[in-house]
Amino acid sequence: MQLLNKRPESLIDIKTHYCPGCGHGIIHRLVAEVVDELKIRERMIFVAPVGCAVFADKYFDCDTTQGAHGRGPAEATGIKRTIPEAIVVSYQGDGDLASIGMAEIVHAAIRSENITVIFVNNTIYGMTGGQMAPTTLIGQKATTCVNGRTAKQAGYPIHMSEMLATIKGASYVARGGVHTPAAIMQTKQYIKKAFQNQIDGKGFSIVEVLSMCPTNWGKTPKDAVAFVKNEMEKEFEMGVKKDHSAADDVPAAAEAK
């Protein structure tokens, strides 16, 4: 018998707490596969957020840190500047990154901090029980907009990738998803590129990943996948938003020291 596939070494073999149909498990696996393939596990320091992925600091087989809500990019900055050899990844959700942590992510990009950010966008606050997020779609129901989000009351969903792509210090910005096999394969390539950039000192790289939250959307896992495909993809167009990593005008990545 031939072993065709196995658990990535970068993921510890324990049960995760994620709900059935949640996208975090797939995204964790993609990150871990990339880290294995690039042989950077010994150098990786994983910064976990506040939100559903808070426990990710227990799942990855590397040193980890977990701090205050939305401040992952600041923590990652403090780590990268004191250990330049480390490969630092900040893993964040939409409430964490696009709401309370807006300043930290924007300024990490402005400094072209040489870190990798994985931004999981499931348009809702998962851990706290389904409140409206800055990425919640117009009309989408949440526990703090029970009749659906209206632009009049709460404004429009934020397009983080498009916004970050306007920042000169952002070297690589892409948006993928984990709701179809094709999207998963493509997203893995985005993530790989975002890590390779850090290895090569190319500066700030971020991959936004559209993801499912069946529990807080009140949908079956199957319907949740359809929601990403039919609704979220329309609002949040997938693809590479910016790639200056190979161009002559690649921004000067922040030097650790």
Binding site: E75, G78, I83
Partner: protein
């Protein structure tokens, strides 16, 4: 070492931190502490360290959370409103047992207040400041020279007990110039051992390390906090610092820290010329507070006066220390008003003579 230099308080503090091994600084502009980040911005690169002007105090303290987790001696500084912004991050640092140095060059408050020196952040500093059960190791210098030499002690305590340390100085100390003599040679950071809890690259495949303040397992957080309380008790036992002046024959003790302790010293000398035997007790550590030492003085002295530039914050600790065994009085000025030796002397004399104007605090 051995050489005296005239230095501004904030710069002396920054240089003192670098000499004590600081290799990472993140901060945000706010008066009256701007010379600290300004100095660090060129000084740290000289010694192979890193400086970042953060986008906010919130971000700065979280950069410190990251850097402290790597076992690096790191520092942030600010002044009152900025220190308020850092409280969430400080709570996380305390909850993750991270050693670090934070300096608060206090200004007038609350709110935007003003930019002159004040002591209104005593409660915030000595009671934790942020959410949850925790302490900071808090020291209060009363001269530029003391300010310059305290970072070394702060890092020693911070790393020994895994606790954030704070230098609580009023803005006056940061802004004035005085002679400075660094008592010890600069630390060679290459000889500092990396702590066994610090995160980093892991080529040797040791067990993974986690920096975090959370534990959701049943009873887990209780164990974590109780372990911390044990260390707090050890700090209370071993790390109290204070200074006494003219207390041997005193029948009235003035308790004061920071700049007011200097004004009080001048006032006490004026009183002594009039034959009134007053003395000074100066807490250097505000937490741990020298309760026992003040208690000991109360066996002989029955009148204590807390002199502060706040609405009367430390006086509560003086009262706790005395616990009814002696009178506790308060003389204070608020709103970053300047305290003069003449007015302190006049108030002390009235208190000494039993005036009811500065009645005993009950």
């Amino acid at each position: 070492m051995g050489e005296k230099k005239l230095m501004k308080g904030n710069e002396a503090l920054a240089e003192g931190a670098v000499r004590a091994g600081c290799r990472f600084f993140a901060g945000y502009p706010i008066t009256p502490q701007n010379e600290v980040p300004e100095y660090m911005s060129w000084r740290l690169p000289e010694v192979g360290g890193a400086f970042i002007q953060a986008e906010s105090e919130v971000s700065a303290i979280n950069m410190i959370y990251g850097a402290a987790g790597t076992g690096t001696r790191c520092m942030t500084s600010s002044s009152s409103p900025g220190i308020s912004l850092k409280q969430e991050g400080l709570s996380y640092c305390a909850g993750a047992d991270l050693p670090l140095l934070i300096a608060n060059m206090m200004r007038g408050g609350p709110g935007l207040g003003n930019i002159a020196g004040c002591q209104g952040d005593y409660w915030q500093a000595t009671r934790g400041g942020g959410h949850g059960d925790y302490r900071l190791y808090v020291v209060a210098p009363n001269s530029v020279n003391e300010l310059a030499n305290l970072p070394r002690k702060c890092y020693e305590v911070a790393f020994k007990y895994r606790i954030p340390s704070m230098i609580l100085a009023d803005g006056t100390i940061g802004q004035m110039m005085e002679p400075v003599e660094y008592k010890e040679e600069p630390i060679d950071v290459s000889k500092l051992e990396k702590p066994e809890w610090a995160i980093g690259v892991n080529h040797e495949h040791r067990a993974k390390r986690r920096i975090t303040s959370y534990d959701l397992t049943e009873g887990g957080l209780e164990i974590m906090v109780n372990d911390r309380i044990k260390r707090y008790k050890a700090i209370e036992e071993n790390e109290v610092m204070f200074e006494e002046k003219m207390t041997e024959d005193a029948d009235m003790i003035v308790v004061a820290f920071g700049t007011p302790s200097r004004v009080a010293t001048a006032a006490i000398k004026m009183l002594r010329e009039k034959g009134i035997k007053a003395g000074l007790f100066r807490p250097i550590t505000l937490w741990p507070f020298p309760y026992k030492q003040i208690q000991a003085l109360a066996k002989r002295v029955k009148k204590f006066v807390s002199v502060e530039t706040s609405m009367g914050q430390m006086v509560e600790d003086v009262r706790l220390a005395l616990n009814g065994t002696a009178e506790t009085h308060l003389y204070c000025k608020v709103g970053a008003a300047v305290l003069t030796a003449e007015e302190v002397a006049a108030a002390l004399e009235e208190i000494h003579n039993g005036s009811t104007k500065y009645a005993a605090v009950k």
